[in-house]
Amino acid sequence: MEHDATAELTHGTAVPTEGPIPLLQPAYFDNLIFWAVVALVAIYFILSRMALPRIGSTLATREGTIASDLSAAEALRAQARDAQAAYDKAVAEARAESNRIAQATRDAIKADLDAALAQADAQIEARAAEGARAVAEIQSQAQGSVAEVARDTAREILRVLGGQVDETAVDRAVSARVGG
């Protein structure tokens, strides 16, 4: 039937093929089946004896390698995390230590400064007291001189006026006035 269709398609050219179409040609069956069986058996032995154990072991090895690599990576990551934590801790400690040292230095400087200031204050006070004493001395000397000058002046005035110079009365009067 299919053959007739083919013949029509050829537009009148003689078709030399006879009998059934090649696909259903019984004369081919034994040969095709024989060689197909040979090919299948050959493939089966190639696969089961050589290829599959090999590929299977390769895949298993790879799976193992990947698993161990992954666990190694996990361990390394844990290590890295620990290292990071240790680093952070060290940094924090160093920062605290440096703060402590800075504070101590600051305190020491402040103490020195306070001591120097106190010393300077004491010196200044001493100088001031000394000065005050000198001023007082000079003042009292000056007071004495004023009384003396007043006495001498009073005596001289009395002498010039021609009065009797009573030493003690003059002294008393000057002292009462000047307070020397």
């Binding site: 083919t6 009998g19 696909l23 081919y28 040969n31 197909a36 090919a39 190639i46 290829a51």
Partner: protein, 254 residues
């Protein structure tokens, strides 16, 4: 042979000549009747498939590299693909049949693909070859089912969760469908491959007319692309159905 006819008149179509067997040594012809183990073009192209499988699966995997090369990773890809299919479809206890199923898959896949080369021969287009595969799977699975499960294998046809009066009817239908399996299994493969190859040849025949030859060549290219898909898909379908049948033999209960 046909060349004389070609010279005579314009259009000649011989879309089915590609399926003829020809002897490797000597001359054949349409009425060639090869002996049982004569070396034919079918022998040659099946041998090329076997050789290619050997090269891909044995030579490329020789180094057993943990980091595979291109050929090795293709081989491993196919291996894992079919292995997963067997495990998923037929169950984990079907692992011992994995080499058989991979053999079927590779034979069909490589025969289909090499059949797409011009001037080659496609063994899987012949019903004799696909029937060998289909009925081989059928017999294997049926015998295996009875050996593993004994009478319980017949539970495949006796639906215990169906109403009692329906069970005989279902059993008959199941029985018919079971015996149709190898037929559809083998005709599906041969039919697909044969049809595609024939359509390509018909398009190529139209290329003899100058006016429509560009269209015809485009058609050939388009059908060829589809045939590349079909070659892979039919190998996949045949293999996954084999796994389904195998599952019935291993676990007839469900």
């Amino acid at each position: 042979m046909e060349e004389t006819a070609h010279e005579a008149v314009g259009l000649t179509f011989h879309p089915l000549d590609q399926f003829q067997l020809t002897p490797l040594f000597g001359t054949g012809g349409a009425d060639y009747n090869p002996s049982f183990f004569a070396l034919t073009n079918a022998t040659l192209w099946m041998a090329i498939s076997v050789l290619a499988i050997f090269l891909l699966f044995v030579l490329s995997t020789g180094s057993r590299s943990v980091i595979p090369g291109r050929a090795q990773s293709v081989a491993e890809l196919i291996y894992s693909f079919i292995r997963k299919m067997v495990d998923d479809v037929a169950g984990h206890d079907a692992g011992r049949f994995f080499p058989l199923i991979l053999t079927l898959f590779l034979f069909i896949l490589f025969t289909n693909f090499f059949g797409l080369l011009p001037l080659s021969f496609t063994a899987t287009s012949h019903i004799a070859v696909t029937a060998l595969l289909g009925f081989g799977v059928f017999l294997f699975v049926t015998v295996l089912g009875f050996v593993l499960n004994g009478k319980k294998f017949l539970g495949l046809f006796w639906m215990t969760d169906a109403p009692l009066f329906l069970r005989p009817i279902i059993a008959v239908i199941e029985l018919i469908s079971y015996f149709v399996r190898p037929v559809s299994h083998s005709i599906r493969l041969a039919g697909n491959i044969m049809a595609g190859h024939t359509v390509i040849k018909v398009f190529a025949g139209f290329a003899q007319v100058a006016a429509i030859s560009p269209l015809a060549v485009l058609g050939v290219a388009a059908i060829y692309g589809i045939e590349i898909l079909v070659a892979g898909i039919q190998a996949y379908v045949f293999t996954i159905l084999t796994c389904v049948y195998l599952k019935d033999a291993l676990h007839p209960g469900h």
